[in-house]
Amino acid sequence: MWLPTFATDRIVRRRPEWRAKPLATITAAAGACRIAAVNRAGQDCGIAPGMTLADARALVPDLVAVTATPTEDGHALTRLAEWCMRYTPWVAVDATNLDGGALWLDVTGCAHLFGGEGRLLRDLEARLAAFGFAARAAVADTPGAAWAWARFAVLRTADDGIVPPGMHRARIAELPVAGLRLAPDLVETLHSLGLRRIGDLYPIPRAALAARFGRFVLHRLDQALGTMPEPISPLAEPPAQQAVLAFPEPIITAAGIAAAVQRLVENLCDTLAQQALGARRLVLSCYRSDGRIASRTIGTSAPTRDPAHLFRLFREHLGEIDPGFGIDVMALAATEVAPLAPSQASLGPASDATAHELTHLVDVLGTRLGHAQVRRLAARASHIPERAVARVSAGTAPAAPEWPVGERPLRLLPHPEPIDVTAPVPDGPPLQFVWRRRTHRVARAMGPERICGEWWRDDAKLRDYYHVEDNAGCRFWVYREDLYRPDRAARWYLHGLFA
């Protein structure tokens, strides 16, 4: 899909009163202001990109000139590409960037969802025109052929944009050689030799073509004809599974959205069941009629394809979706899937049902509180107390771990808290300490247990841990950092509470 006047169309979207006027964007290069892009009215007056501003002003005195913003144009094109994902998940921004903006849409297997390729193109062009973007779209077997057809074919109706399957070689033969995505100087060279149409290149022996014009021309020709594959890397990785629902009328009510999500979830779960897959991460994208996209993501702790459960997870988020002036299309994509064996009604013990109920609870809690807040505790091989416990996903039960030997507190403060300590001997246990503005007199102390830092970490400091009991019976885990040095006061910390 080619957007010949993308840069100027963006400006007109902000300043509608300039629509009919000659309008150009300019860049300062080599000491002169040159035209970077020009709108339709300007082109009709004879202005072309590459002219100096002075020359253009000579042709059209009331030319509106605006400084070009290529970076913003690039961002806008990417946003437009995201919007185009309503048609197909496989969308990419054209990197050749010879003129205006261009997008690739791989509509293989998607066109029938919109009533065929012709209706898809009509819909696409109509919507873009409503946004204020002039677009020329073409569908062909190869990206190269579609590129040439979009730029150089005569397109009276949207159906003209379709090159029937297998016909691309014959159709593009009539188009100028510039349709092969060649640099202007190469086109010039070909023209000077009388090779004006792509078809003129067909009879020339490949070796001669390569020797004369370099491999690039041959490369582009092969890509256009489909003898050389041309991979398109999509904007986002296409989801593993997706369900799409397009509405005849934009929906706006909460009840409508909920019903649509319910149907999407059911459709997606059917597809997943056929392939013995379960979803781990789902993205719900709502394409609003004003061109914005509202999306919500949910994750599950274990692969699932239970529609009731997934719908329950989405219900938490439905209130946050702003329908704006209505939602045209909703897509539910499973961006992360994992194998899930077909389930069978259980006859045996209810342990399976128990596990299911628990994972559902974990998902519900994780959706609301954040999955990082719902955790199980697992052992990690480290003798540093705070590193000996890992917080792992609650979805799967870890194996019975081996815990470090030695007495360990019941609560370990997230950050050791500094305490003021009175100790009779510098490297002995404390006599009394002040923690949270309260003085604790130590009745008994056990230790020290010396824990060395891990030498491969920067913050490796030695700690001497004492298990102290104050005269009320409360028991604490305190430590002194580093070895005793006469020139420096010892630093003490309270790290944990014993029961």
């Binding site: 049902a353 128990t354 596990a355 109920e357 628990l358 559902h360 609870l361 974990v362 809690l365 609301r368 509180l369 807040q373 719902v374 955790r375 199980r376 505790l377 697992a378 052992a379 107390p385 000996a388 416990v389 917080r391 609650a394 039960a397 870890p398 194996a399 019975a400 771990p401 815990w403 470090p404 007495e407 360990r408 507190p409 019941l410 609560r411 370990l412 403060l413 997230p414 002040v434 923690w435 949270r436 503005r437 309260r438 003085t439 604790h440 009745a443 008994r444 056990m446 298990h467 009991e469 104050d470 005269n471 009320a472 019976g473 409360c474 028991r475 944990g496 509470l497 014993f498 029961a499």
Partner: protein, 246 residues
């Protein structure tokens, strides 16, 4: 002379107690400390109800008592869920009290509303043996709500409270647990001694001292079990060990 109104109220009261009696007998979990089990009318902790445990935040005793309760309720096989505010639970310490961390799901809820929502959602999940919530600012309505959910699903709720506000009648039992001083220096240093007050218990009347029963129990680290040091019920109330304050 009773007015017709008060007779009607009395009749309704009787019906209410009858209703309670007709409810299916809850699953009872024994604490494994014979003296305490004997003091509870059910012979242990009844399931599908709320139990409250209070104690100061800077004292690990209440946490230790809760861990023990959860370990008993889990019975080593059933999962339990712990809703914490500070995320400071330490798995090796929990394991020492018999609560195996692979059976434990820890949920961190920062706000009060999230805490109560999490407890309520978890109480609905019958796969859990128990839900422990570290709560603050419990209100009568919330307590009533949690009680209804717990009764419906049969999952036991343990509420650990550090703010010792007024108790709510919804809790079947209410405990106050603090660390206690050990006097003889000859004892094993790693043992812990707690003073456990059964402050309130449905079906039991508390005395003038403000508690139903009081024990001094000791957790023996070497064997991982409890022993009752003293049954303090009939003794004259000893002054609680005082803490020095600045």
């Amino acid at each position: 002379m009773a007015s017709p109104k008060s007779t009607a109220i009395a009749a309704l009261r009787r019906q209410l107690t009858m209703g309670d009696a007709l409810a299916p007998a809850p699953r009872v979990t024994r604490l494994g400390i014979a003296a305490i089990d004997a003091a509870l009318p059910w012979g242990g902790l009844p399931g599908g109800a709320i139990h409250e445990v209070t104690g100061p935040e800077s004292d690990g005793a209440a946490t230790g008592f809760c861990t023990t309760l959860l370990a008993r309720l889990s019975a080593g096989t059933r999962p339990v869920l712990w809703v914490t505010a500070n995320d400071d639970l330490y798995a090796p310490g929990l394991a020492a009290f018999g609560l195996s961390p692979e059976r434990l799901i820890v949920v961190r809820a920062r706000r009060t509303a999230e805490t109560f929502w999490t407890i309520e959602e978890a109480l609905r999940c019958r796969s859990l043996a128990a839900v422990l919530g570290e709560v603050r600012g419990l209100t009568r309505t919330v307590a009533r709500r949690l009680q209804l959910v717990a009764r419906g699903s049969g999952v036991t709720a343990v509420l650990l409270r550090h703010d010792e506000d007024d108790a709510f009648a919804n809790a079947v039992t209410r405990w106050h647990v603090v660390s206690a001083r050990r006097d003889d220096a000859a004892e094993d240093d790693s043992n812990a001694r707690w003073r456990v007050d059964l402050v309130r218990c449905r079906g039991r009347i508390h005395g003038e001292e403000g508690y139903v029963a009081r024990w001094l129990i000791e957790w023996r680290a070497a064997t991982g079990d409890f022993g009752v040091v003293a049954d303090l019920r009939d003794r004259p109330d000893r002054p609680a060990p005082t803490r020095m304050a600045r």
